[in-house]
Symmetry: D2
Subunit: 345 residues, 4 copies
């Protein structure tokens, strides 16, 4: 059994991790930290855990947590993760960081979009935790930077065409739509039920912090710098991200060629499902699962490829992918504990 | 491995059963019937199954299905189940009927509320599939009548106080609220998104067919005839039933006494969770799980007990309970394949 | 033109009042106060007002506001209203208080359920602003206590049978369900989208502060003290309250008699719609309107009357009723500026 | 008073028209046709009309309807409108057609995307009913082709930049998201509550019939042929369309220049609201109103303009715009009967 800790366990991502880990056959959760809910059983905060765990939130130092476990998931906000990751690594623990702190390889870009980095020396060591692209590196990593939710859907949707140079690299637009759990459990007027329900809006238009993360990975795949227009929107649902991605085709391919190409590209990927021609994903088909569903077509009239991807932002976009990474880091089957079917309807 | 068939697999209950059974460690689904979708892969109708099963709907006779499997789940509407159950039983198969056809022990009451019964001879043999009340009988049953969704929540909420004669048996009111999946996947204007969303209404007020089922079980528990006022409502959510139950207390008990009594009554039940004083269930805490959550209090000013129960209508109210019954019928651990945590948020 | 002020205009009720008043043919809004948003145009906080009003929130003293207007709507929380109402009255202004401060005629009961009252001397003068019951008094009132949202639906549903002594006064249960705007725009985890959406729960079971308000009015109608069991629930919709009301019939009446009686009782009421036998209200039919819709039936098997009422909690349950009261206080047609049709779907 | 008929009044658009027209100070609705609901009071089908109108659906011939009224709104599906419009025009009535039948000026394109046209001779006479572009023509029209819901949001968002040639005409992408009422009240599995709720998907990707309508109007504005990639999505809300529009800037302009330009372009338009820099529309701000809200920015990193527009698909996208057109056709103030504020929340 792998003993694991969740550092910052009281948010939606933290409880989602716990949900996965309590049923994982090879893990034992030994520490759930939360300053806010210190001493309170997690089942009091999240009644879904009644009867499943008596675990209580603790407010322990990184050192104390490190003393308890083999692996630590950091589910704290960016800025806090980089403060504690060094302790865990120094103690010889494997770290899966769900914040943005080690995702950007260029510290200047991190500091431009986020804030000053206090453990930049670890960036070069961190592996970007998208198993479909970096499986081998993840297996050997001590520190995995779990991808952002939006980047997961955008990069998996674009990787094949960008890597093979099928589309004009200056033509990429990612129009993404996310469920509200992506905003976390923080109090803000914009997250109140009545503000969100029966509404729909774009936000942080072309200024969202996931932009440089998407660009970094696409640029690496292409071997040249790529900028994208990234516009996120808020859907009045709890979970799910649908990304509608546009790019101008450079090669002579049909929709059917493109789909065949995607099926080949992802043929060994258990968590990527490429749809048949004329069918497209719906976030309801991945809700609660670790899948990334992909559908695509070609707009013959304009020469654009349109790629649609759907993920559950809390699963493949956060906790599920984090456990997928943990499985790889510990030599377990990649899908262990992650074979969830969507809770449709 | 138990080979199982789902007879009438194309509705919400059918696909929910499949969802549970494909991950159940001791079952193998060998037949999914649907007249409507004959020959079509279930993953084409419900994309959640992509990558999990290549199963295709068949339109097979009961005899053919019987030839394939050890157990059959009937997920057809009432009236159809009683036509096919005799064939499965004759062929020596175990049957879990999710329709209403064998729930009412008095055929006259069945015929008053439903329609003429064509296999009434089986009624006396059928066991009402509420494991918390009839576990031993279920273990030995050939034919289990899986309870209705509303009755499950109402009966589990009332069983302790009714059995111990704690409340006035003429005072019981069940004000229940259900998610929309309870109406199935049939086409009707009333089930359209725009008709339901941002709405809330009562329906079939004191005339819903689950009324005699609730009354039958409460009467058996009390040892005397009980009538209840049962008013169902439609909540604009996919899943869940919250039942708010009222009854006038006859004994000198506090809220705390009542809760202690419920905890004792259900102390060995893995799927019943009794809440602490002052806390009450929310359907979101049981979504996707097989739990029945119960909270209760006493209205000192009027002398009424108020009991709140929450279930997922498709799980403990249908497919989950059906698999719980199957486990019992085949001597498997009751919770096998059913340890789902709610998909909150 | 009547000049009006909204004291505490930044919440959902405040903006709803403004929405009604900016289109009212005989009112001119001259003051919108908000400490929090002082100096900010209301259209910046609520973009629905773009192009309709340039009004800016002010943080003015009651005296200053009184100097500007003929009538003041108090849309501040209870406790604050009783601090400022005396100033407005002293200045000769008419006051419609949407808080609970002057609703309860017995100051002891107010202080038991709320807090110490600081202007109790005004309680005896205040008129309970339910026009269907107190029209004449409202016309002559200086201070109107606008009813609570739940009490409006409960009292209008029960008034006929309670006044005529048709039901057993000890048998009344009000099982009410409200949209989320009833909780206001305050920040709390329980009001976050992900906590409410796909959920349903009861809250403040038999302890909600609207209980004594309902009981007061029913007791006055009956001429004897009535206690009720009142259980509110939260529906994942923005607006609307559906109340399902139970009482044991004492008279020999059919459902049809009861409906005829209700139609007669409310025959002159423009904002009460009594439904035909076998049809019942849905909150979606009153959304955005000032109607209270009522449907009822008799449960022959238990002898209970079941009454269903639907209102929009922000309209007939708050702002709409407040303007209805203002119309009466100023001798205007009662329905002026209030003829809204529900925004279905 | 203008006497008006609604031909095909039983759908969501029909009832929305009625809602607007019953409160319009200069119209009297004299005919509501519906084959399906012939003889049934509209208040029985849509209870929102209880107490407002006793009107009953009739199944009358176009000739009969023409005999009753000055103006006719066609709210029947495409294909049916072109069958009846000639009768109304022959009878000297003004016609506002809410179907697609007279929107496309090129009958070949109509027949390519829709079906054979049976009254193509009227196409040249029909005026495209977007008042912001064709006000003068509408004032003199006998037959107005009310724009599609998606085209309204797309064209109003693009008109300024396309007309002034500010963006590369080959670069336009319209990523649109619509509430479910856009699908009408027809029975289909895809419109069931449980299929839509908690879901989000794209549909008819680059094949939606509104594509040629958008292209026609943009091409006319530009003076050269424009093709666009148009991808509609389904939002789980009742009402509203948000269009996120992308185009590559050709001129040297800042976001602030663009906004100033839009404000000037629409300065006399009562139903277009251009947002300040850094603020963007939400469909909840236009729900139930006739506004088209527009926000825009510039993605400096890619040189793309991003334009966001929000409308209520049943109002500015259908019934509201139809009445706006009627006002113009009859010389009434354009905004008469249309000054609705959004029903937020």
């Amino acid at each position: 059994m792998i003993t694991v800790g969740i550092y910052g366990a009281s948010g939606y991502t933290g409880q989602e991790l716990l949900k996965v880990l309590v049923r994982h056959p090879e893990t034992k959760v030994v520490a759930l930290t939360s300053r806010k809910y210190k001493g309170i059983p997690i089942a009091d905060i999240y009644p879904i855990f009644k009867g499943l765990t008596d675990d209580t939130f603790i407010d322990a130092s990184p050192e104390d947590v490190a003393g308890l476990c083999d692996a630590v998931f950091l589910a704290v906000p960016h800025g806090e993760a980089m403060e504690v990751a060094p302790f865990f690594l120094k103690a010889g623990k494997k770290v899966i960081d769900l914040s943005a702190d080690y995702r950007l390889r260029n510290v200047d870009i991190y500091e431009e979009w986020y804030k000053e980095h206090t453990s930049a020396e670890l960036i070069s060591e961190a592996v970007y935790g998208l198993p479909e692209l970096y499986r081998d590196d993840i297996e050997n990593a001590r520190l995995v930077a779990n991808p952002g939710c939006y980047p997961t859907g955008a990069i998996l949707g674009l990787a094949p065409v960008v890597k093979e140079n099928c589309i004009d690299s200056s033509s990429i637009i990612v129009d993404a739509k996310s469920g509200v759990s992506g905003a976390g459990r923080e109090l803000s007027i914009g997250s109140l039920f009545c503000e969100v329900n029966e509404g729909f809006k774009a936000y942080k238009i072309c200024t969202h912090r996931h932009t440089p993360e998407i660009e970094q990975e696409l640029s690496l795949l292409a071997g040249s710098e790529i900028n994208v227009s990234f516009v996120p929107h808020l859907i009045p649902v709890n979970r799910g991200i649908l990304s509608t991605i546009y790019g101008t085709l450079r090669k002579n391919m049909t929709a059917s060629d493109l789909i065949a190409f995607y099926k080949t590209f992802y043929k060994d990927e258990i968590f990527v499902r490429v749809y048949e021609e004329g069918t497209y994903p719906n976030i309801s088909s991945v809700k609660g699962s670790n899948y990334c569903d992909i559908g695509l077509t070609l707009d013959d009239r304009t020469g654009r490829v349109v790629i649609i991807t759907a993920i559950d932002n809390l699963m493949k976009g956060a906790a599920g992918q984090a456990v997928q990474n943990m499985n790889l880091m510990f030599g377990l089957p990649e899908e262990m504990g992650l074979k969830f079917v969507s809770l449709f309807p």
